[in-house]
């Protein structure tokens, strides 16, 4: 829009009429680059002034951020527990190995012969024989109950044949036919598909996963409400500024901007602090978990958030902050009288 009344401005002695300014006044508001710079300055100003405001009211900010950080770390904690549980079953997934527990009166030699017979079966890929002594040794090493077993006069552990069916044999029906055949042989006391246990474990874990998702969702909604309420209070405190800005022609986008940045900062800082809470908790738990893991064969290592997950955690909490404040602002700014 052209403004024809620029001759109204009195000449300002403090500003020299340099070339650039003549170009700017030729078109009201300056050229495109100038406007772009102004827009960038507005964002930069909103970004830092909103952080400044949080710092200026440390007590309120710390309380809000502490609550949010705890909520976010709880949600992430569920995630970490589930991803660690999944690790437990990860290396079991593809195997449909069977265990044949032999009767107590079967000798090692007999067991060896049986293993060789089974190995000839066209459906079997490999057979591994675990003698009583080996089983005892394994039990003593890995279970952590080594001394308990010494209380028995004789070795109570049975001979076990670990049978790995051919990969082609994947469907459950064929597996159970094979299992039934092993079960019927006189030397076998008890036969089971290990996969069954894996399946049970997996379904428990998927239940835990679902539970974790539900909890994280609820905590996320909680975070959204807390940030929304914080921004609403901030909006209330700065009511004059909002009204005056509106009177001098501010768009809703202009008025929203600093508050959106406030939401962003609250979310971002809470996310970072939540990460630290988790990291410290992990350090505290790590030693105990590693000890326990060693006792069970040492295959389990406590997993923490990797780089991508850390990034997602902070990005998600920041966007929850922006989303929470946006929702409140959309609702509150709809009507000038409401603010």
């Amino acid at each position: 829009m052209k403004r024809g009344n620029k001759n109204r401005i009195k000449k300002d002695p403090t500003v020299r009429p340099i070339k650039q300014e003549i170009r700017q006044t030729a078109k009201a508001g300056g050229n495109f680059a100038d406007k772009l710079n102004a827009y960038r300055d507005l964002h930069a100003h909103a970004l830092f002034s909103s952080l400044g405001r949080l710092v200026a009211t440390p007590f309120v900010s710390i309380m809000t951020i502490a609550v949010l950080a705890i909520a976010i770390s709880l949600a992430s904690c569920f995630y970490i527990v589930v991803s660690n549980l999944q690790q437990l079953t990860a290396n079991l997934e593809t195997s449909n190995q069977m265990s044949l527990f032999l009767r107590d009166d079967v000798s090692d030699a007999h067991a060896k012969k049986l293993a060789d017979t089974i190995k000839l079966d066209q459906n079997v890929q490999s057979v591994k024989l675990i003698t009583k002594e080996q089983a005892l040794e394994e039990f003593k090493t890995y279970s952590g109950f080594g001394s308990a077993i010494n209380a028995f006069e004789t070795n109570p552990l049975p001979i076990v044949l670990q049978v790995l069916p051919k990969n082609a044999l994947n469907d459950k029906e064929a597996l159970s036919v094979l299992l039934k055949r092993f079960q019927q042989s006189p030397e076998v006391d008890f036969a089971q598909i290990d996969l069954k246990w894996v399946e049970r474990l997996q379904s428990i874990i998927s239940l835990a996963h679902l539970f974790a998702c539900l909890m994280s969702f609820l905590l996320g909604v909680g975070v959204l409400f807390i940030i929304g309420n914080t921004v609403r209070l901030e909006l209330h405190n700065r009511r004059d500024e909002v009204v005056i800005s509106k009177l001098v022609g501010a768009t809703n986008a202009f008025i929203r901007r600093p508050f959106l940045y406030t939401g962003f900062w609250i979310g971002f800082i809470s996310g970072v602090i939540a990460w630290f809470i988790l990291a410290v908790s992990m350090l505290i738990l790590k030693q105990s978990v590693e000890t326990l893991s060693d006792l069970y064969g040492g295959n389990f290592h406590l997993l923490f958030l990797n780089f991508a997950e850390t990034f997602s955690l902070i990005a998600l909490s920041s966007s929850l902050g922006v989303l929470g404040s946006w929702a409140v602002l959309a609702f509150q700014l709809k009507n000038t009288k409401a603010i």
């Binding site: 009344n5 001759n7 300014e21 102004a38 009204v243």
Partner: protein, 218 residues
């Protein structure tokens, strides 16, 4: 410039505040809006600022029907007007410079342009050198002049003033009216709500008189 055609405003709680108001404020015209308290002066000004909408009738601003204007367009309408208030409505936690710069920052002006125009506006109201002061450190008259600088910094074609001299002594009031006179001479339309009868009669401008929501003389 501003054209009211049979405008009424009704609140559900209090009934009609304005009834059948019609008047036309020309480009470069200065007019006083007067009347007893509760006659509807503030409501009329709020209608011009589109802080509220009329219940009946039409208000035209530069030929544009305000009752048909979309909510999203209102900020751009308000940028054509400079508002001046009895209580100044300055941001207490911002410097004089920042207060005056606000309309320009909102309109997206670049840093140099903002700086140049703010200095020019402050010079116009004789406040050069007070850029870095905060409003509370200024006298009432100075604060009102900051308010005026903010209203004119964007060079709007219309100035709306609500009791601009309400808190000022006669000498300062006259000074401010003198400023308005200067703006009027360069083609700005000015509407001043006031019940300062002596000031109004002294200046011999058009007077719109409201009585219980009706325009009894214009």
């Amino acid at each position: 410039m501003i054209n009211f055609v049979n405008v009424s405003k009704r609140y559900p709680e209090t009934g009609d505040v304005l009834r059948n108001i019609s008047f036309h404020l020309q480009r470069g015209e200065m007019a006083f809006l007067t009347g007893h308290s509760g006659a509807g002066k503030s409501t009329l000004l709020r209608l011009i600022a589109v802080m509220e909408r009329s219940s009946r009738g039409q208000i035209f601003l530069e030929g544009q029907d305000l009752s048909l204007t979309k909510e999203s367009q209102l900020p751009y309408i308000r940028r054509k007007m400079g508002f001046i208030y009895q209580d100044y409505k300055l941001l207490q936690d911002r410097t004089v410079f920042d207060n005056v710069a606000l309309p320009l920052v909102i309109a997206g002006y670049g840093h140099h342009e903002v700086s140049r125009r703010v200095r020019a506006a402050l010079d116009k109201v004789s406040l050069t050198g007070k850029e870095k002061k905060y409003p509370f450190a200024l006298s009432g008259g100075e604060q009102q002049r900051v308010g005026i600088a903010r209203a004119v910094v964007n060079k709007p074609p219309i100035i709306i003033a609500d009791e601009p001299t309400g808190n000022l002594d006669p000498e300062l009031s006259e000074e401010i009216m003198h400023l308005f006179g200067q703006f009027q001479r360069v083609g700005v339309s000015i509407l001043i709500a006031s019940h300062d009868i002596s000031l109004i009669t002294q200046l011999n401008h058009r007077v719109l008189k409201l009585d219980h929501g009706q325009l009894i003389s214009s």
